[in-house]
Amino acid sequence: MSKLTELTVADAISGLRKKEFSAVELTEDHINAVKDSQELNAYVVKTFDLARQRSILSDKKISSGEAGLLEGIPIAVKDLFCTKGVHSSACSKVLDGFQPPYESTVTQKLWDSGAVMLGKANMDEFAMGSSNSTSCYGPAINPWTPKETGEQRVPGGSSGGSAVAVAARAALAATGTDTGGSIRQPASFCGVVGLKPTYGRCSRWGIIAFASSLDQAGPITRSVKDAALMLNVMAGFDSKDSTSLDKNVPDYVKDLDQGVKGLRIGVPEEYRIDGMLPEITALWEQGIEWFKNAGGEIKEISLPHTKYALPTYYIIAPAEASSNLARYDGVRFGLRETGDDLIDMYSKSRAKGFGEEVKRRVMIGTYVLSAGYYDAYYLKAQRVRSRIAKDFKDAFNDVDVILTPTAPTGAFAVGEKTDDPISMYLNDVFTVPASLAGLPGISIPSGLSPEGMPLGLQLIGRPFDEVTILSAGRFLETAADFNCLPSDNIGRKKL
């Protein structure tokens, strides 16, 4: 039997049911894996005692036939999710010490289904970043390193810690959140599967808000089937979230193997951007080939407003964030600095509590909403956003799924883009359009760069059609046969 930490969620569920091992053993092995991978800084809070207690209960439930869908499965939870009585800070100093007296809907669903929390995963502060370098706990480190240099690479972000935990076998799965690519891009950088569901599919209640009209929870896993298993539990209407949709949740596992014969796959010309790395282009071509060979119908499509997506996103998301983050004022929870008067207390608390990137976005957001600038920035961005959504709507008249690279690069060096926010923002260029349109997207590990770093391909689907991107993703996963580990170079396929 392979190491328990190498199992997929699906295999672990089956092994637990067959009593090949216990939930306690599974959890203990993962606790050790978390300890062993300490230097990757994937976890910012470790809840081992809770995990052990929960795994004992899971074994009992499995024995008594009361096991939930994810009974005994050890997972990591992005620090953006509020977890009752467990430190939840969005990796920001401003929320230092905050222990929510409530549990987010999505994590509650996971615990109700028997999942075991190992701890809270590192992330960019308030989910603002694409490299997990803005965390107040320091960067999370990608377990993958370029074969030759051994240089430390970023895991992507903002759900960097989640992707690292899953890639480094320090969790069977993790929750992430995606606002402009924060699940898909780190999944791509770390060689794992990352699924952003349709906006409104999972409840946002209890998830610390970054940009409310974009934020969406989703799973990070090591297989498409695991993503489907996680989504089965995480998805669903929540009356506490007015933007969640009261729509039936299908069984995402059921139709995974329906294949891609006759599936119409759109390839958007606007995604062939200048200066794209040749290995990304090659991977994309390879993906197209795989689909074509399996009977998929490849169609060139146009999404004409794609080039406006990034600037649009960097107006809307900061605008919402500037308002969402106003509550961190030092008055009721988290960090408070003393000041000479009220304004001084606000200024000092927020100056000390927020990191540079958060401050930058709060300022951008405040600016674009200001009197005299609102129409030119925010309002115009909303109009462009509708155009972008319409591009996709039109495209989906002709195709069932859209195939693109997840990111224009593989994982870059730690610290590389930290001083260059624009180049950092550019890393979201392929993930942001689907976010603005509220569409589901999944990143599938599909190959390695010449230096041996994982690269992902993205599948974008119609609203609430996670089923199709999951089955197409399952096909892609099989075709790519991405079975390599960060720790071993054997079997790495060079493009």
């Binding site: 999710f81 969005a90 610390i208 007015s242 933007t243 308002s323 106003a326 004022d329 405040t366």
Partner: protein, 483 residues
Amino acid sequence: MTYCIQGNSGQFELVVGLEVHAQVKSKAKLFSGAPTEYGAEPNTQVSFIDAGMPGMLPVINEVAIEQAVRTGLALNAKINLTSIFDRKNYFYPDLPCGYQISQYLDPIVGEGTVEIDLKDGSSRNIGIERLHLEMDAGKSIHDLRPNVTHVDLNRSGIALMEIVSKPDMRSPEEAGAYLRKLRTILRYVGSCDGNMEQGSMRCDVNVSVRRPGEKYGTRCEIKNVNSVRFVMRAIEYESKRQVDIIEEGNSVDQETRLFDSSKGETRTMRSKEEAHDYRYFPDPDLLPLKIEQDWVNEIKNSLPELPDVLKKRFIKQYSLTPYDAEVLVSEQSSAMFFETVAHGRDGKLAANWVTGEFFGALNKANLNIVNSPITAHQLGGLIDRVSDGTLSVRLAKEVFEFMFLSGSDADVVIEEKGLKQVTDVDEIHTIIDKILSSNTEKVEEFRNGKVKLMGWFVGQVMKESQGKANPAAVNKALKEKLT
């Protein structure tokens, strides 16, 4: 009879518009399930949403929407089937999220009208600009300890309707009448209890002055005035202040002012330059609010008869004076009380009793219709005894006093206290005979032409009967005996 402010250089016209914040009658807050009871211990009616905790999301309370629609319909206003909640961003310790959820460009209710009645008997229409829903902030308490501000979030998130009038009022009296009328309407439809002392209705007053025929002058906004009387006084003070400024050759600065009720003055709160940039934008946590016309119609059909309609009906059906009708419809409970009393009886008589003895007694006892010791049926029973001659008006008033004290029926009081009017002719004759025989000189005088003495005889008989004799019967019998 136009109101004007007499300056040294001529007359000025006053222009007033009111923004009324009315607390929506609802058990829960606008976006959370927390209770809204008045006067609870600080910070005991606060949900995680009201406290702006991370990850919390607002969910609109349907009752509040229904109340806004009810109110809008009662204001003859346009109901917008799609409306949008926006965030109004500013920092203050009693505003936990750092923004207030309000409606900015797309309110739930559009233009409407309120008809006001003035003392001279005329009436005017005051335009309503809009009505929108918004959440209240908490309360900052600065005077509990020096250098420390306490925050009570009980009010945070309570649903308010902001009702904005057009700048249609031209005198303090009109502003007062508008405010009272609005309060009456809100109480009729049950959307707000209109209690200004408890802060469930607050008023921002916009005042400007101009010489007749000129365009609108620069306005000042007086914040948070909390009684009808203060609103009227604030307007008087503020308009004179503005006239003085203009007459000195200066111009009025647009600013926000406060009314100091102890001094009867307004003073600067913040100038236009200090005005906030609220950075309004649609709240991404809430989808646009869509309601169905069918639902609006249903609400419309469930509305009670509104004061204007009721007043007209009272005048017509019961031949009431406009004044009495106005008094009776000013509270729905008095109108209902009156209608019960008037049912099957003389309307005018009923109105006299309700607005006269009954209201007087309530006032004196510091009671209101809801906790009145006697019911409308009981008052009606008393009036019946006047109509059938059992009681004289004077006796009836005496009976009423006993009824009011004991809560008993008129018949019980009449029986117990023996206050029944004497209409028995024989009994009256006996008394008259007694009076006449002991005042023979007076009888002589009368018969010699001093007819004025009739009144004196009536008085003596009434006195002898302890007021119970039926005055008409006494008059008749006396005339017979004396002539």
